[in-house]
């Protein structure tokens, strides 16, 4: 085996070892540092998450979907702005006019998202569903979001 391959193998082994340590280390640390003797666990073993405060009510409640549509529109832009970076890298190198026009086309098509969402009333912050009894199984509401479905 040539020497370069040996060094490569040593590198791989070292990285694998470090990765393993990174995964196992926290368990060991927690085991060493946690207050196992003094902790109160009575009536707390069936909580899903432990944060020092007792949870209030059930996690399976219905809440408004308004925010989620906003978030989706935002994500559409946040992701697409990434594609402006490569354009910025080569902007004005060879064909300034062409770069500008292409940028306008790209951002123009992108902004159609806003036009669509606006027209369909996504930006109206209204609570459509009245508060209901929290239920585990969401019942289907086919007509509930007719005006805003995107």
């Amino acid at each position: 085996m040539p020497e370069t391959q040996q060094t490569d193998l040593i590198y791989v082994a070292a990285f694998a070892l470090l990765g393993l340590l990174f995964a196992i280390g926290p368990f060991v640390l927690v085991y060493l540092l946690s207050a196992r003797k003094t902790r109160q666990t009575i009536n707390k073993r069936d909580q899903y998450i432990e944060c020092g405060v007792d949870p209030i009510g059930d996690a399976w409640i219905r809440y408004s979907a308004v925010y989620y549509l906003y978030a989706l529109v935002f994500v559409a832009f946040a992701v697409d702005v990434l594609y402006l970076v490569p354009v910025a890298m080569v902007y004005d190198r060879v064909f300034p006019v062409r770069d500008f026009v292409e940028l306008i086309i790209f951002v123009g098509i992108l902004s159609l998202v806003i036009v669509y969402a606006w027209k369909k009333g996504v930006f109206k912050w209204t609570r459509r569903a009245p508060a209901r009894q929290p239920s585990r199984i969401p019942s289907p509401q086919p007509n509930e979001r007719q005006t805003t479905a995107a």
């Binding site: 669509y116 027209k119 086919p142 479905a149």
Partner: protein, 481 residues
């Protein structure tokens, strides 16, 4: 200069303008009829512009986009398919009422992806157009309306999307290997530079992973899992789209990459043989016991993907052109079947084989379309399915894959059983018919049925000019520069 550009790029420009117009229509509520009319005009204009630019040749966008005979006839096939799909979705009843115009918008966007796919010769352009063509299809599945006893569309859509995204990821990973080996994203250059290292493990891994992503679109055996479920959960029109367009698109890219392995490559041939045999047997055997017509077609798709791979096993020009010819024919055969399914279905529900009972009395034209579509799928002359299978078997046989050819013929015989069950249901079994009402067809459906029948027969009785044209146009794709 600008005039040449427009002449070469006309179909794409027409399609983009049409899709933008459909977008404007979708901004308003209840404009289904208008969205359909605009889409129909766009599709017709696309077909016409493809015919006009059939002979143009150009390399656009710094070598990322090649317009030649190969790409133009593919665009023509996609355009005719688009037209057929719009006629097929007459009222799109089974789409949620508030988003029906968007059905046509997403269909148009997906078509844009396919049309760009035909011309992409750069890996990045290719990936972008592949995503553009597949993402709207995920949405179309989820757009089926919810009602009592019909809740599985979300499951189907999620399956379709998860598998699709995973397959895209695998394909990108493979492409990254190929890029690493050849340090270019231009596919012809990549293929050329792969020649010396094609037997190395890295090239094989790269090509294999890239193919895996395409096999998913084609529904080849280990990547078939989504097909029947998605067909069943999607509305009838959507299933028709998913069954037809992406298959041809996948074959096009497969041809572009398979050209890298053109010399006798033992390993790639063996892998392809195993995949072809597995998907033929799996698809045909499972299809035997299906009762839902769309599920049956789903499994038959898997079998047809296996047949198509026969052309790639041959790994020469005859094989590639046979595969392309077969898939072009398949596009129209399967659309003919889905026209019947959409029209027979009561209120957009799924159609079981028993629902076809007495079809020849309820609507002779639909029964005829069904029979011709099914006979073509089964590979009975003189339809395109027979000539396609013949060309594929011929290509594989010429390269000495005798066992594979025999297995494929056995599979054709197995498939005949379940195809003939469908024919039997539509022409006999009147006594069991639950519904005797005649099915009223409007003019556009009649035109669509007759048009599809004509294409399936014409492609079948005149295979020589078509295959010759495909082989000629392939020369620029397969030949290593």
């Amino acid at each position: 200069m600008i005039q040449e550009f427009i002449m070469a790029f006309l179909p794409e420009l027409v399609l983009l303008a049409g899709v933008l117009a459909v977008f404007v229509v979708t901004l308003y509520n209840d404009r289904v009829a208008r969205a359909r009319a605009v889409s129909l005009a766009t599709a017709a204009a696309l077909v016409v512009s493809c015919l006009i630019t059939l002979r143009s040749e150009a390399t656009l966008f710094d070598g990322a986009y090649r317009v030649d005979l190969f790409s133009q006839w593919l665009k023509l096939a996609f355009g005719v398919g688009y037209l057929a799909v719009i006629l097929l979705g007459r009222r799109v009843d089974d789409i949620r009422p508030d988003i029906r115009p968007e059905f046509f918008l997403f269909l148009g966007i997906s078509m844009t992806g396919f049309v760009f796919l035909a011309s992409s010769i750069d890996a990045i352009t290719l990936v972008v157009s592949l995503e553009l063509s597949s993402f709207p299809l995920f949405l179309l599945v989820a757009m089926r309306r919810e009602r009592e006893g019909q809740r599985m569309q979300m499951e189907s859509a999620i399956k379709f999307m998860m598998f699709g995204v995973a397959a895209n990821g695998v394909m990108l990973f493979g492409l990254s290997y190929l890029y690493g080996l050849t340090s270019t994203t231009s596919i012809p250059l990549m293929v050329q530079r792969l020649q010396p290292v094609i037997d190395g493990p890295l090239a094989l891994a790269g090509l294999g992973l890239t193919f895996a992503g395409l096999y998913y679109k084609l529904a080849v055996f280990p990547f078939h899992f989504w097909t029947p479920d998605v067909y069943q959960g999607a509305s009838n029109e959507t299933a028709g789209i998913i069954a037809s367009m992406p298959k041809l698109g996948a074959v096009v890219i497969l041809v572009r990459f398979a050209a890298a392995a053109t010399p006798d490559n033992q390993l790639i041939t063996e892998i392809l043989t195993v995949l072809a045999v597995a998907s033929m047997f799996y698809g045909n055997l499972v299809a035997l016991v299906q009762r839902d017509l769309k599920r049956l077609l789903g499994f038959s798709t898997i079998a047809h993907a296996g047949y198509t791979l026969l052309g790639f096993v041959a790994l020469d020009e005859a094989g590639f052109s046979a595969s392309l010819y077969y898939m072009t024919g398949y596009l129209f055969m399967v659309l003919a079947c889905f026209v019947v399914i959409s029209r027979v279905s009561r209120d957009g529900e799924n159609v079981a084989i028993e629902d076809l009972h007495g079809l020849h009395r309820r609507s002779p034209l639909l029964a005829l379309t069904m029979v011709i579509g099914i006979f073509a799928l089964a590979g009975i002359p003189p339809f395109v399915g027979f000539m396609g299978k013949f060309a594929l078997l011929n290509a594989a046989f010429a390269r000495g894959h005798t066992v594979l050819v025999i297995l494929a013929v056995i599979n054709t015989a197995i498939a005949a059983y379940y195809y003939l069950r469908v024919v039997h249901a539509s022409f006999f079994g009147d006594r069991d018919a639950t519904d005797q009402m005649p099915i009223a067809l409007d003019g556009s459906t009649r035109a669509l049925c007759i048009g599809l029948i004509a294409i399936v027969i014409l492609l079948g009785v005149t295979p020589a000019p078509v295959i010759d044209a495909i082989t000629t146009s392939l020369a620029s794709v397969v030949a290593v520069p």
